[in-house]
């Protein structure tokens, strides 16, 4: 298994995939509670990939395989969780040379072109309101690139891919938004947008995975920022 970080200077934004009705359940986006979090949003992107967002902090809590079932205290995940995201506040605003945790609010979600887009709002110290949209999507190495091995040796067919796309508006000049990300994965692809704060290799179930702590930087250029994670089928977060 190859592992490593591949930094690509690609700037082209990927065309959103119109998945239409190709989702594992109806509804495939739903609200509820999970693991002590009262307000979560679950999006079952594919049979092998679902994501759960904590709406209190506008953060991704986990990516998992399989389905969720209704339990006594909320949803319960049937199968394994690929990775857990960071708990608590994850949005930072860098302004005037200092970075502070932002007051982030979940503003709702939109269903368009068969995809779900979550909306957040961050408020700066100066009162400016920044609108963030995140569109999570399932992908495969093949849908990511026709020749995935040319991207990275570890990008082999069969991996489960999660693309997180972000679009921001209203970022004032001189302000930068950063999203704290955490992931355990086979590998990840970014576009020179992350600032790693910690990265290491770990052995899980006989497999070597990467564990990443980083900040995804979102510049005030109104462009789309993406990060892709790829998981080993059957890998577990813990």
């Amino acid at each position: 298994m190859n592992s490593g970080v591949v930094l690509l200077a690609l700037c082209a934004a990927l065309v959103p995939v119109d998945r239409g009705g190709d989702r594992p359940s109806d509804p495939w986006v739903f609200r509820g509670a999970w693991n002590g979090h009262e307000r979560v949003l679950v999006a079952r992107l594919a049979g092998d990939l679902g994501v759960i967002y904590d709406l209190e902090h506008a953060s991704m809590l986990t990516a998992f395989a399989g389905d969720v079932r209704d339990g006594e205290h909320g949803f319960e995940i049937d199968a394994a969780r690929y990775t857990d995201g960071p708990e608590g506040a994850v949005w930072w605003i860098e302004e005037g040379g200092s970075a502070k945790l932002a007051d982030a609010r979940f503003k709702g979600h939109r269903l368009q072109n068969g995809q779900v887009t979550l909306r957040y709002e961050l408020v700066t110290e100066s009162g400016a309101r920044i609108q963030i949209e995140e569109t999570p999507e399932f992908e495969t190495p093949e849908s990511f690139d026709a020749d995935p091995s040319s991207v990275a040796p570890w990008l082999v067919p069969g991996l489960i891919g999660l693309r997180r796309s972000f679009k921001a508006t209203g970022i004032p000049p001189g302000v930068r938004v950063a999203l704290l990300v955490r992931a355990r994965c086979v590998g990840y692809v970014d576009y020179d947008r992350i600032l790693p704060e910690g990265e290491r290799e770990i052995e899980v179930g006989g497999k070597t995975l990467r564990e990443l702590y980083a900040r995804l930087l979102i510049e005030p250029d109104n462009g789309t920022h993406e990060i892709h994670f790829f998981f080993e089928p059957g890998q577990e977060a813990k």
């Binding site: 509804p27 986006v29 509820g32 509670a33 709406l55 709702g108 939109r110």
Partner: protein
């Protein structure tokens, strides 16, 4: 001594000497036959009309000889009470409301609420995890099968439509559902307010109004309410203290009405909003075992009207009106509905829709055009004002006896009444006003067909922290022309007023010249004020239709006579009479032949159609050639053909047999009888019929 039933001559003399003014009532047919001796010498027989001579019938020449004529006496009718008409069963529902039923099919069993959508369709929210909102049309409409409008909701408890926007209350959040592309599917789920926390874990109900929302939540043994802004999500929390299962509807001026479930004291209402000093809570109903649902059907800047429906199939109106001291809350039960009300919603047009527990029977309640209802009340320092949805009839509701006010110490008439110029509100004076927090009832007397819905109003005055003293109502003078006036249609139809409302012009005392005595115009009524004799029209009428209203005092007796001819000692010598009477208290009421509405002594009504003493009674009297009809309060009392064989036989069997001129005239004056009792007339009008 003559045959049975005829007094000796001596007895006749004594009676004639002592009886004074001849009285048509309270005398036996025998005695009347004895004293009813006309003064004219050559009286025609009763067999022929005036001016004609019937051959082969001996003509008694003198009063004495006439008195000796053997008059066949009919057996005295057994004394019996004139039965009252079997009471009309009141309608089960206030006639001011109309219900239309629709059927919804294919909905899930776990419905939690519904809201109106476009084109007569409805959004119905189901409950539980991953819940959906369904778009459904009533059965029979194309594409009536429910389809999903929104999905993936977390235990929604209520759905509301406001100004085309759709809001859902789900766990932890108030969400707006937006269909951006017009395909009748929500594609945008916008967070309006975050309502997270243990105290908000069981949402119950939602209301949205003018940029604000109110949501209720069940907590341990009590209810909580939140009022917030739709724009910035800021909220105010209200602890409803002991309330359970609280439902909420919009109010006015930034406030909302919350109705909580019944406890041993009954349902309570709470007024909550963004201004704490204007909040209040009050018991509203007697204890009821079932839950109620409510929706606002109308509102102004200072008032709101609601319909409430219970699971046990009862409907009620509630109105909240701002007052200087706080609010006036009015409740009136509106009748029964034929399905359980589990959920309700208000439509854009102010209609009230409710859905049963099976979510298959939808009923829409609408105001009935032209039928009035009490929309609310306003308290004043010296009484209460009722506000009506439709104007009162022209002369309806002016008399204090038309209304009743019930307080803790009993029922009474208001001190005085004032009707607004537009007749859409009535003030009932009641010194010293409605006591703080007291309950009083005001209802209009009358039968079900001619009055407001008969159920009384319960009125509560609620004081708030910022309340001021109540104002006093200044009495409005009654406009002229409201009574004793003709409509344009009546003018065109040939009607004329016989009483102008302000004088006795057109009338005189029977058998007298000079100013009218014993009668006067008072406050728009023609009133018997003393002795002076019967009142007759200056004009004579042959065929005509007469309308008037009469009201009589307790035990009173009067009458309307027609074809009255001058020159006799009493109007009843010649004129047939439609009886006016207090059937209950006057002895003549014991015999239907002499009861109110009868053709006195000749034709009896089947039922007692008089209104309770003190109320006005309406008369239509038709005389069209020989054909006569008596109508009282819209019910025909009797009809007969003058000069027919039947009529002659009846006259011959009555006391009028000894009055040879009785009923024979083909034209004459109209008379109102002065029997010594209190009687009042108004709206006296006539339409001559040309033949």
């Amino acid at each position: 001594m003559k045959t049975r039933g005829v007094l000796s001559f001596a007895a006749i003399v004594v009676c004639a000497a002592s009886c004074g003014t001849p009285q048509a009532s309270n005398a036996s047919p025998v005695a009347d036959a004895a004293v009813a001796a006309p003064t004219s010498a050559a009286a025609p027989s009763a067999e022929a009309p005036v001016g004609e001579t019937k051959p082969n019938v001996p003509e008694p020449a003198t009063h004495a000889e006439r008195a000796k004529v053997e008059v066949p006496i009919a057996p005295v009718a057994p004394r019996r009470l004139t039965p009252r008409k079997p009471p009309t069963m009141p309608p089960s529902l206030d006639p001011a409301l109309t219900i239309e039923h629709q059927r919804l099919e294919g909905l899930p069993n776990d419905v939690v609420g519904f809201a109106p959508y476009s084109n007569g369709r409805w959004l119905v929210a189901s409950g539980g995890a991953r819940a959906s909102v369904w778009l459904v049309a009533p059965a029979g409409i194309v594409h009536a099968e429910p389809r999903v409008f929104a999905s993936g909701l977390d235990h929604p408890s209520a759905i509301v439509a406001d100004g085309g926007r759709i809001f859902v209350l789900q766990r932890g959040e108030l969400t707006e559902l937006v269909d951006r592309d017009g395909d009748d599917v929500a594609d945008d789920y916008r967070v309006v307010a975050e309502l997270a926390g243990r105290e908000f874990s069981k949402p119950r109900d939602l209301a949205v109004d003018r940029g604000l929302f109110a949501a209720t939540f069940d907590t341990d043994g009590s209810s909580l309410a939140v009022v917030g802004s739709l724009t910035d999500g800021r909220t105010t929390i209200h602890d409803l203290r002991g309330a359970r299962k609280a439902r909420v509807a919009p109010g006015f001026d930034g406030a909302f009405l919350v109705l909580s479930d019944a406890d041993e004291a009954g349902n309570r209402v709470h007024w909550i909003g963004t201004v704490p000093e204007r909040t209040w809570s009050s018991q509203l109903f007697q204890a009821t075992p079932d839950s109620a649902v409510l929706a606002r059907t109308e509102s102004t800047d200072a008032s709101a009207g609601y319909l409430i429906a219970w699971e046990h199939r009862q409907l009620a109106r509630v109105a909240v009106q701002s007052s200087p001291s706080g609010c006036d809350v009015t409740l009136q039960y509106a009748g029964s509905i034929d399905s359980d009300a589990k959920f309700c919603a208000a439509t854009v047009g102010g209609e009230f829709a409710f859905l049963d527990a099976a979510a298959s029977n939808l009923a829409i309640v609408r105001p009935t055009p032209g039928v009035s209802a009490v929309r609310g009340t306003r308290s004043f320092a010296n009484g209460i004002e009722l506000q009506l949805s439709e104007p009162l009839a022209n002369d309806q509701g002016w008399e204090r006896e038309y209304w009743a006010v019930v307080e803790n110490d009993g029922v009474r008439w208001p001190d005085w009444v004032s009707v607004a110029d537009d007749r859409r509100s009535v003030f009932l004076a009641n010194e010293p006003g409605v006591p703080d927090g007291a309950q009083c009832k005001a209802y209009m007397l009358g039968d079900f067909d001619h009055s407001l819905w008969f159920n009384p109003l319960s009125i509560r005055r609620v004081r708030t922290q910022v309340g001021a003293e109540l104002l006093r109502f200044e009495r409005r003078p009654m406009p002229t022309g409201i009574r004793n006036a003709l409509s344009e249609a009546e003018h065109a139809g040939g009607w004329r007023l016989l009483f102008d409302g302000v004088s006795t012009a057109g009338w005189r005392n029977y058998g007298k010249d000079g100013p009218v005595e014993g009668w006067a115009a008072e406050n728009g009524e023609l009133v018997r004020v003393g002795d002076g004799g019967d009142l007759v029209t200056e004009e004579e009428f042959a065929s005509f239709e007469l309308e008037l209203d009469w009201r009589i005092g307790s035990g009173g007796n009067s009458g309307i006579l027609f074809h009255v001819v001058d020159g006799f000692d009493a109007v009843w010598r010649t004129g047939p009479e439609m009886q006016i009477l207090d059937n209950q208290e006057h002895p003549d009421g014991q015999n239907s032949l002499t009861s109110a509405g009868s053709n006195y002594a000749l034709n009896a009504p089947e039922f007692d159609d008089t209104r309770p003493i003190g109320a006005w009674n309406h008369v239509n009297l038709l005389v069209d050639g020989a054909h006569v009809e008596h109508w009282l309060n819209g019910e025909k009392q009797c009809e007969y053909e003058l000069w027919s064989d039947d009529w002659r036989a009846r006259v011959a069997a009555s006391k009028f047999a000894a009055m040879p001129d009785y009923g024979l005239a083909k034209t004459g004056r109209i008379a109102l009888q002065n029997h010594g009792d209190r009687v009042r007339f108004k709206n006296v009008k006539v339409r001559p019929i040309a033949r």
